[in-house]
């Protein structure tokens, strides 16, 4: 279990050989949301295969490289392509890149995902700033002997997403006339989409959107003491009484259409970070 520390060091060494800046933020981009990378002044893009201990993404529309450069004047590391539990990866491996970001010096994690909307007030393309999360993946990346060098045995989860950043993101959205709201993200393992009964259940237990990612990365970011801001893009509405079959190509098209708004929010948050520092 304690070999995780060494694995992180190996990955950090490989990245530092190609990029020697200290990132302010790590960014993980979700399905159909990789376009933010075009806004980055890229110093170097490293294929996941070239980084020791990094898994490889098999999901549709996920590239597989770590983009290092500058965004809004701040050094950032962005994962173009992420890993999912439904691909069969253990959560410890899925979340290794977050630990690598932290070990490189990042203090902020920005996550995005495409999700199903449960809150009937949402619609396709709606942006939800993640306010809180529910873990229904049936697993936790921190199970096993705890390495106290990486974080505490029992991380507190009363504020996994930085509330100041939630407010800041919403303020930026209002200023840019982007429809956004805050809400609760529930994560399931997938890969099947939910039944109507499951959508009713998830709504009943307090979730606004459902997805198959993000929660493991956020748990690990909290464990290692990073601030987190998260964005969910509603790519299909899951209204159990009028449910239509999901179409992956439509989902990706919706994500692509909402992407500019997401870019505006992420760059806005980073610009405010730069002004803070």
């Amino acid at each position: 279990m304690l070999d995780l520390y060494d694995k992180i060091e190996e990955a950090v060494t490989a990245i530092k050989a190609k990029w020697d800046k200290t990132p302010h933020a790590g960014i993980i981009l979700g399905t159909g949301l990789g376009g933010l990378v075009e806004k980055i002044e890229v110093d170097v893009a490293i294929d996941y295969e070239e980084i020791p201990n990094f898994p490889r993404s098999t999901a549709i529309s996920h590239a597989g490289r770590l983009v290092c450069g500058t965004l809004e004047g701040l050094p950032v590391m962005a994962m173009e392509g992420r890993f999912h539990m439904y691909e069969g990866y253990p959560l410890k491996q899925i979340t290794l890149p977050v630990r690598v970001m932290k070990a490189m010096g990042a203090e902020l994690l920005v996550v995005s995902n495409a999700c199903g909307g449960l809150n009937p007030y949402y619609k396709n393309g709606h942006i939800m700033v993640i306010e809180d999360q529910i873990n229904l993946m049936g697993d936790n990346p921190l199970i096993g002997i705890n390495d106290d060098r990486l974080g505490p045995r029992f991380p507190d989860m009363c504020e996994p997403y930085d509330q100041k950043l939630v407010d800041r993101a919403l303020e930026i959205a209002r200023g840019e006339n982007i429809e956004a709201s805050k809400g609760v993200f529930v994560a399931v393992a997938g890969p099947n989409l939910e039944t109507r009964a499951e959508y009713r259940f998830l709504r009943t237990i307090g979730a606004d959107v459902v997805g198959m990612s993000t929660v493991p990365e956020v748990i690990v970011a909290v464990h290692c003491g990073m601030r987190v801001v998260g964005f969910s893009i509603v790519t299909d509405m899951c209204l159990p009484d009028a449910l239509e079959p999901a179409d992956v190509s439509k989902i990706i098209a919706t994500a692509n259409a909402a992407e500019p708004s997401l870019c505006t929010l992420v760059t806005g948050v980073l610009a405010a970070e730069r002004n803070d520092s």
Binding site: Q133, I143, I145, F154, M157
Partner: protein, 275 residues
């Protein structure tokens, strides 16, 4: 059942070399409650690490030894320190020692734990007498347990927790004038504490407290037909609308303060189980 039983028999052969006396009741001491073991007139103490297949604990404030002796005149075996799923063990690993206790003659099982309260009527330091549980540990390692069929079918043990022992626990609390409640324990794997959204979820589905232990041991004990009492020390009250950080050290301290109350209930339960 076979795999867990084989592991148990291997452990038992070793334990019997160190202690081969009578055992009536098994006791599992949770976070901050290990002090009860000091009241046992000890006949043998075995480190978990010396017992083959025995899970050994890495958790804060958990020692890891099996204590044989008498408590209030009753022959007992106590687990001082327990293991958890968040340490990487399966429910079958964690439940195996209960099978061993039963094999050595224990017909009663007393389990304690520390938990986070979600019922707004409860206070930290109160004791929850577990009346029923909800298993959200997402672990299927105990599903092959053949005895579970008996648990499901036996009309008198639809619920794993012994009703007579629940009544005794509550009457002790009235007599001694401390707060104890009947309620439902939700177990999760951890090790993360719950988010506010998760607390609301667990409360909504019927939980009074949430913790990271107990259910594996209780499921194994129930499948053996043991009479079970489980007590939960409520060490903090989660208020999702006014969240505070949970500090593991605070949890241990509050548990230590309420320990005398728990001990009084255990003594009364032992008297009942010895008859």
């Amino acid at each position: 059942m076979d795999a867990i039983r084989e592991k148990m028999l291997e452990a038992l052969a070793h334990v019997r070399r160190r202690f081969d006396g009578e055992v009536r009741v098994g006791i599992i001491l949770g976070t901050g409650l290990g002090g009860l073991a000091e009241y046992i007139d000890r006949e043998a103490v075995i480190d978990y690490r010396d017992i083959p297949n025995f899970p050994h604990s890495t958790a804060l404030s958990h020692r890891g030894q099996l204590v044989f002796g008498t408590l209030a005149g009753v022959p007992v075996v106590a687990m001082q320190g327990r293991c958890h799923l968040y340490e990487g063990y399966s429910s079958a690993d964690v439940g195996m020692p209960v099978l061993l206790m039963n094999e050595m003659g224990a017909k009663g099982l007393i389990v304690s734990n520390a938990s986070g309260g979600m019922n707004p009527k409860h206070r930290s330091g109160d004791i929850l007498v577990i009346e029923d549980h909800i298993n959200l540990m997402w672990d299927t390692s105990l599903e092959p347990l053949a005895g579970l069929r008996r648990l499901r079918c036996n009309e008198t043990t639809v619920v794993p927790y012994d009703r007579g022992l629940i009544e005794i626990a509550l009457s002790v609390a009235r007599r001694e004038n401390f707060a104890a409640h009947r309620g439902v324990y939700v177990s999760v794997s951890g090790p993360t504490y719950e988010t506010r959204a998760e607390y609301r979820l667990f409360r909504k589905i019927g939980g009074d407290v949430v913790g990271m232990s107990t259910i594996p041991e209780v499921v194994v004990g129930a499948s053996c037909g043991m009479r079970i009492m489980a007590l939960s020390m409520i060490t903090n009250i989660a208020r999702p609308d006014a969240p505070e950080k949970v500090d593991a050290e605070d949890v241990v301290e509050i548990a230590a303060r309420s320990e005398p109350n728990l001990r009084k209930i255990v003594m009364a339960a032992l008297e009942e189980l010895s008859q």
